[in-house]
Amino acid sequence: MGQHQVNKTIQEINERIRKGKAVVVNAQEMIEIVRRQGKVAAAREVDVVTTGTFSPMCSSGLLFNIGQQPPVMKVSKLWLNNVPCYSGIAAVDAYLGCTEPSEDDPLNKVHPGRFVYGGGHVMEDLLRGKAVHLRAEAYGTDCYPRRELDKDITLADLPSAVMLNPRNCYQNYNCAVNLTSRTIYTYMGPLKSNCSNANFATAGQISPLFNDPFLKTIGLGTRIFLGGGIGYVIGAGTQHVSKPQRNERGLPENPSGTLMLKGDFKQMDARYVRGQSLLGYGVSLAVGVGIPIPMLNEEMAHFTGVCDADITMPVKDYGYDYPNGISRQLTRVTFEELRSGEITVNGKKTSTVPLTSYAMSLEVADELKKWIERGEFMLTEKVEDIPSF
């Protein structure tokens, strides 16, 4: 690593946050600052850049404990509002995955299924303070004799509840089109026939991992905004790609880096944790995640100066190629083109459809900015790196 002209430490930045003197900007504001003043001056002036995203993140869920009610029980099967939870952990621990549909859901029997209720919706209901029906079965042991449990609970009744997301914050993603002659319903939303619409995700220039493409400041132990409360990065997410193909700016060209996250569910806000029903596909959860990037040096200022025109995405066919595991890339488009409302694929004009709420993503970044400005949120030093080259 070369010598930097600006060298700050997280301790120094935290000292400024504590004194209320830290300069905090969101990732959108940072673009203009770097463009106007250059990366060195920007790194001197700004202490923290806040990023944000609010998008369906299917690999999310809730790890919880239901407590005991004598006679005590070792749960073998458990449902919340008829959504099955995994209970093969200890006596009364369980994990609710956000993509688990309600047990009596008609699924895709009549295509496209509507997937009205599932794990993601249970999580949102709990945060809204609603009562949720808990049903559990057990085979009974000498020490845990109870066989059944049937009662209504609220979030306050759970002794512990932790949001635990194995894979969030995908760094870059595919833009999806459909080259077949019928409408299809995918996890990327509805795709009309003959490449009539191109659906894309991520918050682009304000998305966390586009602002720190080599994960220089993000690692195990990084404190973040998660679902309206405080959370932590606990390592690389599943399917993390540590050595992706990168452009000249260091931005990955394909889906690559991912994060595993956790946070105290009881602190969270339903505004940033929303159950989703994806027509013909299934249930998911939109999660708001905001990550602060400390301006340790001008290199970080350069990275956080990323704008939509710097980001390119592969366009892929979800009609035939994706379901058959063919990784053909139809074309590449910049995020700026995607946000303009129209791109050209195979010589045809195709309207673009976002799946990630930019307005809500920016709100997450601004909320985190407020916390830091008020001195309520201190940055943490990562304890372990997430490999990213």
Partner: protein, 146 residues
Amino acid sequence: MQDIVKGFRKIVYLSFPPEVSGRPVVCNLTRLFDLSFNILKADISPRHEGTMTLEVSGLEESFHKGIGYLKENGIRITPVAHKIFRNEESCIHCGMCTAMCPTDALMLDPGTRLVIFDVDKCSACGMCTRVCPVKAMTLDLKDDRN
């Protein structure tokens, strides 16, 4: 078509009782009142009740006369704006609905990145109610089956 649309233009939802659904009534909007119409959606139930979403354009005065004529003939008129709703609390402005909206009533504002819902353009087809991941769009179909 754009030329005709100049002046007054409105999308209405018509409900026909069984005794009227067999008669040609809508064409008289043109013959008697010099209005243009575009049928966006039409359906007749097994009980011979009919429903139609109609975009009507012409002079405002003629429009009101034409609507009066339809009412005299026993047709119930509901402005489309009264049939479709967006729950503003629930909408997260992701933009997924814009994929299916056939009339561009749901559009992304390029500046604010918020989804604009222009009810005047809406034909109440209901596609958005099916694709909205947070079920923020609802279609009131109470009038359909009486």
